[in-house]
């Protein structure tokens, strides 16, 4: 098969993986090397596709042949999709050719499971090893690993990569049993635990002087939203587990997307993109805003409000906590005000030492006044208490009815 055809098949096969992050790697460059590449700092999105997604890495499957039968996946064994396989050399050359033209930050390599976990891992590692050792490639490498692969192989992958990941795909074993019969929550968590241990070890070595240590700095995972009946509470509880126990850098939420090879037990629907967005917002509230899962969702309300962002929805349920005085409120209280982000909360804390804050000041910080006004007190503003109590407040924030988007 021609290289262009392989590329078309194996990039198409990789596009359902949401992660394209290229940030968080150890700082390094090629000034004292023989090849190309640098990492460190924020990642760079070199292009955007019309799906709004960043293109930062060359995201490929080594092969889309697979012995697993995950029903949401176009590459499952029962799909009739056209199969292809790259050689390690082909992926190495593509990566370097793209990198030198400044199309990408590096490589994100995954693979269908062929023969068994260890054999597949070895193939993936061979690509990374050639890039690093033969070509002294110092760009970003993200390797997908397999929970059942041996600990030694996973550690080898981590030594060549900047980021490694195992996709959990579904939040509970019940869902996995139904849609991904080969996958196991227990085995995945076990592998994530081992990876965390290795990442911590590498972190300590780096801290104790081994500054140039080549080793992955983080792990991430992905779950598919909307493929089955899992609720947002199921997803957030799982994320809590993953961030807390395995120090996940990111949990990616990927709205289940129609695939050309639909499975009988998973009929296709258009992807609920807004649900994916709300889950990301809730995820941020948990990680950066001090919210607990139990505050964002309740047993009676296991799904996020699709019309309102989760912080606003929380504030509307907890009106007794408002209005908040911007001049005196503590940081953790400011972070709970709808319309105030981490950065602006910190700026306000800094500025209010010198001045009495007024609404125009907030406007200069590009805070949305219509959003914050009902919840705050400033030197020149006190919200109408009637408004805060009234159901009109919710109505004020609901999206305006719009015509369906025309293609």
């Amino acid at each position: 098969m021609e290289l262009q055809s392989k590329l078309a098949i194996l990039a198409d096969a990789a596009k359902y993986d949401a992660s394209c992050a290229s940030s968080g790697a150890v700082r390094g460059d090629s000034l004292n090397g023989t090849g190309v590449g640098s990492t460190g700092g924020a990642g760079i999105c070199h292009s955007y596709a019309p799906d709004g997604r960043c293109i930062s890495l060359l995201k490929l499957l080594l092969t889309n042949s697979c012995i697993y039968d995950c029903h949401y996946c176009i590459n499952r064994r029962s799909s009739n999709v056209r199969r292809a396989a790259f050689t390690a050399e082909e992926v190495v050359k593509l990566t370097l050719d793209f990198y030198k033209r400044n199309y990408i930050e590096g490589l994100f390599l995954s693979s269908g499971i062929i023969r068994n976990a260890d054999h597949t891992m070895e193939q993936v590692i061979a690509v990374a090893r050639t890039l690093r050792e033969v070509h002294d490639f110092r760009g970003y490498i993200h390797l997908k690993t397999i929970p059942e692969a041996s600990a030694e192989l996973i550690e080898t992958a981590a030594r060549y990569a900047d980021r490694i990941s195992i996709n959990l795909e579904l939040p509970t074993q019940k869902s996995l049993d139904l849609l991904a019969p080969e996958k196991s929550l227990t085995r995945t968590r076990l592998a994530m635990g081992k990876i965390r241990h290795k990442l911590d070890e590498a972190h300590d070595r780096r801290k104790n002087g081994d500054k140039k240590l080549r080793h992955a700095t983080g792990q991430s995972t992905q779950v598919i939203v909307g493929a089955d009946a899992s609720t947002d509470a199921d997803f957030l509880a799982r994320s809590d587990d993953l961030y807390g126990n395995f120090k996940m850098r990111r949990v990616y939420y990927s709205a289940f997307s129609p695939i050309p090879e639909p499975s009988k037990i998973l009929p296709l629907k258009a992807p609920p993109l807004i649900r994916e967005h709300r889950l990301y917002q809730a995820d941020w509230l948990m990680r950066f805003y001090g919210f607990k899962t139990s505050e964002i969702l309740t047993p009676e309300m296991p799904n996020l409000d699709l019309d309102l962002d989760p912080k606003l929805a929380w504030a509307l349920r907890n009106r007794q906590d408002f209005p908040v005085d911007i001049q005196t409120a503590g940081r953790e209280i400011l972070l709970r005000v709808p319309g105030l982000g981490v950065r602006n909360a910190d700026r306000i804390i800094h500025i209010r030492r010198h001045t009495r804050i007024r609404l125009t000041d907030l406007a200069r910080l590009r805070v949305s006044l219509s959003k914050v006004q009902p919840f705050i007190i400033t030197a020149d503003h006190h919200p109408n208490s009637m408004l805060l109590d009234s159901d009109k407040l919710r109505a004020r924030f609901l999206p305006k009815p719009v015509q369906l988007e025309l293609f």
Partner: protein, 283 residues
């Protein structure tokens, strides 16, 4: 009113500003005019120059970045802020994010930073030739930035591509790396790079294939990749076609016949996984 030429760079402006500060010339009495007919940055002798207080590093950082902006008003704005810091007793001015002058300067700083970031993202190199003896490759790129960012934006490329030769050519200045030193030359008005690059075809295939037609979000794409950059991005020629064909492609998927579930094939490894799962359930 005094006419002063700030020159084109941070250091030429800084020199002119120091001179003004020493002579206590207030901002409202200065007319900044680059290459102006009347003024010049010649330092005037004064009998008793006043001592300029030490300027906070935070201001110098801000001023350096703002100096790359293309707005001619950056020079008077920076001088006004500098004056308020040194002669107005507002030493911590740069940290007052709600001050109108600081807001204006920060906005310029942000556009410059963003443009540098976009340069790192959207410069597209083309292979010019390969040295037959050493095998060293020579690349060139054409880029059209809004601001004067070629110098601050080039260190990144030096570090990343130190083992290839490259030139970045723009109307606002050019940068060249030969493995030893980074050289800057004046801008060129028109794209001189004619060579096509064979790898571009593979890049277009990749762009086409990584796009998911079931999640069209054109606005999100354009926010991050504004149209003004498209003309120098080879993949942008595919955008219209991909948007146009996305709906029929999704409709096609939705009418596809559902594929039946097949029984697990005979495979020792799959049997092993099934046994492991069974044991896990029993635990």
């Amino acid at each position: 009113m005094e006419c002063v030429d700030p020159g084109k760079t941070f250091s030429s402006w800084r020199k002119a500003a120091r001179d003004l500060l020493e002579r206590r010339v207030a901002p409202q009495n200065v007319l900044w005019e680059t290459g102006g007919l009347f003024g010049s940055a010649v330092v005037r002798e004064t009998a008793q120059p006043c001592v300029i207080p030490k300027v906070p590093a935070a201001f110098l950082d801000l001023a350096q970045t703002v100096s790359y902006h293309n707005d001619p008003d950056r020079w008077p704005l920076l001088y006004k802020i500098l004056w308020r810091i040194t002669h107005g007793g507002e030493r911590h001015l740069t940290s007052i994010a709600i001050d109108p002058d600081i807001t204006a300067a920060r906005l310029m700083e942000k556009s410059v930073r963003r443009e540098i970031h976009k340069m790192h993202a959207f410069v597209r190199f083309r292979l010019m030739d390969t040295d037959a003896e050493s095998g060293r490759e020579r690349y060139a790129a054409w880029f059209e930035p809004d601001h004067y960012i070629v110098e601050p934006g080039s260190t990144f490329f030096k570090k990343r591509f130190s083992n290839m030769d490259w030139s970045i050519i723009t109307p606002k200045g050019c940068a060249h790396w030969n493995g030893k030193s980074l050289i800057f030359t004046p801008g060129i008005a028109k794209n001189p790079i004619a060579n096509p690059d064979q790898i571009e075809a593979a890049w277009l295939t990749y762009y086409r294939s990584i796009f998911n037609p079931a999640r069209l979000k054109v606005k999100a794409m354009q926010t991050e990749m504004p149209k003004r950059y498209w003309k120098n991005l080879p993949e942008a020629e595919l955008i219209d076609e991909l948007i146009g064909s996305s709906r029929p492609r999704v409709d096609q998927m939705l009418t596809e016949e559902l594929r039946p579930v097949k029984p697990r094939p005979k495979n020792a490894y799959l049997d092993k996984l099934a046994n492991m799962s069974k044991e896990e359930r029993e635990e």
